[in-house]
Symmetry: C3
Subunit: 270 residues, 3 copies
């Protein structure tokens, strides 16, 4: 079977854009297996694309090609880059989409895409996902070596978005993070990891207290159904991060919380 | 070609959840062919998932694996089950998703999923679709025998939701059913079958009278276009059930009818 | 690898309809590779389906089978047709979906679908996409010759929708066209081509002036990012037509423009 190509875009599914990219890939790599990760990235929301990518890529086999098209700078001189990291290949505009991957310290190599012989002719000025990234992805599926797409790029020169950091205050047993996304169910995803919480929790018997929007939640439960219907709860979600949820409810709506909202976790007297 | 794996969930398509499940399957069964049936099951609406499943599965080849993740009890002690029925395999939480299948009298066997050697490590508490059902589906595609997933489960012990029944009063030539779903076009799907109607219709020349929300519709037409634009009509839809529609209009909106709405069919004097 | 089958429908993705069509195809042609182009055609909007088809098909390999189901006349005596054009195969109701293809002068042959031996049994009256077009597509993937689906149909007898034409007034250096669609980003697609504009532009140094809704836009830029955030701009979009956009904004919303809105392009004194 051919390599997998995954897609993350802000194109939506109403227009023909995603289907056309798949046509371009399959016309050049009939053996490619294409998987949609999300086409509902909010328009031009590079950080959300980075988050989807980070949450998804490692569930695919090594060698998969991940194509991310959230490209507000299309037609300007922003670079298109092939990143090799953690055994996977990532194709995207160099606009910060790789920020979370670069943090994870799994960088192997990066190349600026300049292999014009593989581009569609003519190349449009407004749809490089179709005209450049899709055919290059197809050639990678077909066996093109990453280094053949163009000159090497230094890791330090790759665009890096400021990602909200978690502040861990071990002396006060206190973590400050924030909401970074909400999902289809209204679950609020934070940037606080299970490990962050373990680091401030000296005694397993003292439950952490999570605070968001002046509401406090005592204890972190194992799953949504460990609280009554409609009750606010904190859980380590399936992405490995602290999530704020409501059992069978919508935490985002009931808290009126938005992305960027502060979340703290404290253990014991502070 | 590998077996087909179909997916029905309430995850929506905005988040990466569906793509991640596909990654887990393809990483273990590269030859699997994955088909989305619906990811727009209303959140936790087990009966809707049962309906989508019942309307769709038999159009796939025997031996297909159908994975249904509508799982409000994730993380509790509800069972995950593999059902073998009508030559197909079905994987889902044992929460009533199989109710319509079990009615159809095509049960062959059922097993509680306990083959932990195939689970993702670590198993999350909140996403068993990804961590348990997807890898088990992949192993079934790869040739795992159903009986190897865990101990047999009695048919009678499977969770069974109360499904709204049609009442056929043959003496009065009258059927009472209800609206069970509405589709993208606003067509109202009922639980009344063509056979139900035949059973009360002694004389083919007397048209049945359908009543919903105090509106009566005389006769059952062959297709939407057999009535004028905007006219309310009754038709045996493509799922084999009576549907209430408006030619080029939206029956749900124009009737203000919701799921559970009573529908009667009568033939001749009652 | 098997042939590609693409799908364009007005079914939406909430119901099981699209998945069921894929099941019917894969049950008969396991080697088929199915690609969604769009299932968000506005209900019964034949011209929009024609536009999606025209914008997408040529990015797929020759020999691909394109299945388009926007079928307000299902169940009446409208024909189902297989069109061979530009090396591709197209299956759809004969209701005008082929209008733009027929304009492009790439007609090869057309056949009325009558090969009942391939239909699902029984054929419903309301879902010929599933019961007729999907199994016929599968048999074409499997090697069925186009001429075997039924009797030849004259090109001149195919249904042809009146498509809004661009009026080019070369004496006055003026083009009058209209908005034919808007995309996910609010970009307004017109029916004016780059070639139309070249035809009235004697001197490359005099920028064209685009007028829509009493707003004038001077010059056609190379990409969205060539104007400031929020600024209205004109660009030759990725489909090869003039588009009206707002850099990082929504042209449709900010202009209050709808499909059918007049757009003019003028060069120099008029």
């Amino acid at each position: 079977m051919g390599r997998i190509v995954t897609l993350i875009t802000d194109f939506g599914l109403a227009d023909e854009y995603v289907g056309v990219m798949k046509g371009v890939i399959l016309a050049r790599a009939p053996e490619a297996r294409i998987v949609d990760i999300s086409h509902a990235v909010p328009r031009h929301d590079i950080l959300r694309a980075a988050l989807f990518l980070q949450s998804a890529y490692s569930f695919f086999p090594k060698g998969s090609v991940h194509l991310i098209v959230v490209d507000p700078g299309v037609g300007t001189n922003r670079r298109l880059v092939l990143l090799k990291a953690d055994g996977h290949l990532f194709l995207a505009p160099d606009n910060g989409i790789f920020s979370l991957l670069l943090e994870a310290d799994c960088f192997e190599a990066a190349y600026e895409i300049q292999c014009e012989q593989y581009y569609l002719v003519p190349v449009s000025r407004t749809f490089h996902g179709r005209d450049i990234l899709a055919p290059v992805a197809a050639h990678l599926v077909g066996g093109l070596e990453p280094a053949e797409v163009g000159p090497a790029v230094l890791r330090s020169s790759l665009s890096n978005l400021k990602v909200a950091r978690v502040i861990v205050n071990q002396r006060r047993n206190m973590i400050t993070g924030q909401v970074v996304a909400q999902d289809h169910f209204g679950n609020l995803l934070t940037n606080i990891t299970e490990e962050n919480i373990r680091n401030i929790q000296a005694d397993k018997d003292i439950p952490p207290v999570v605070t968001i929007k002046n509401k406090t939640i005592t204890g972190i439960v194992l799953s949504y159904a460990h609280r009554d219907y409609g009750e606010l709860l904190a859980v380590i979600g399936s992405r490995g991060f602290l999530e704020i949820s409501v059992n069978r409810g919508n935490a985002a709506a009931s808290l009126g919380a938005e992305i960027g909202e502060a979340v703290t976790v404290a253990v014991g007297k502070t």
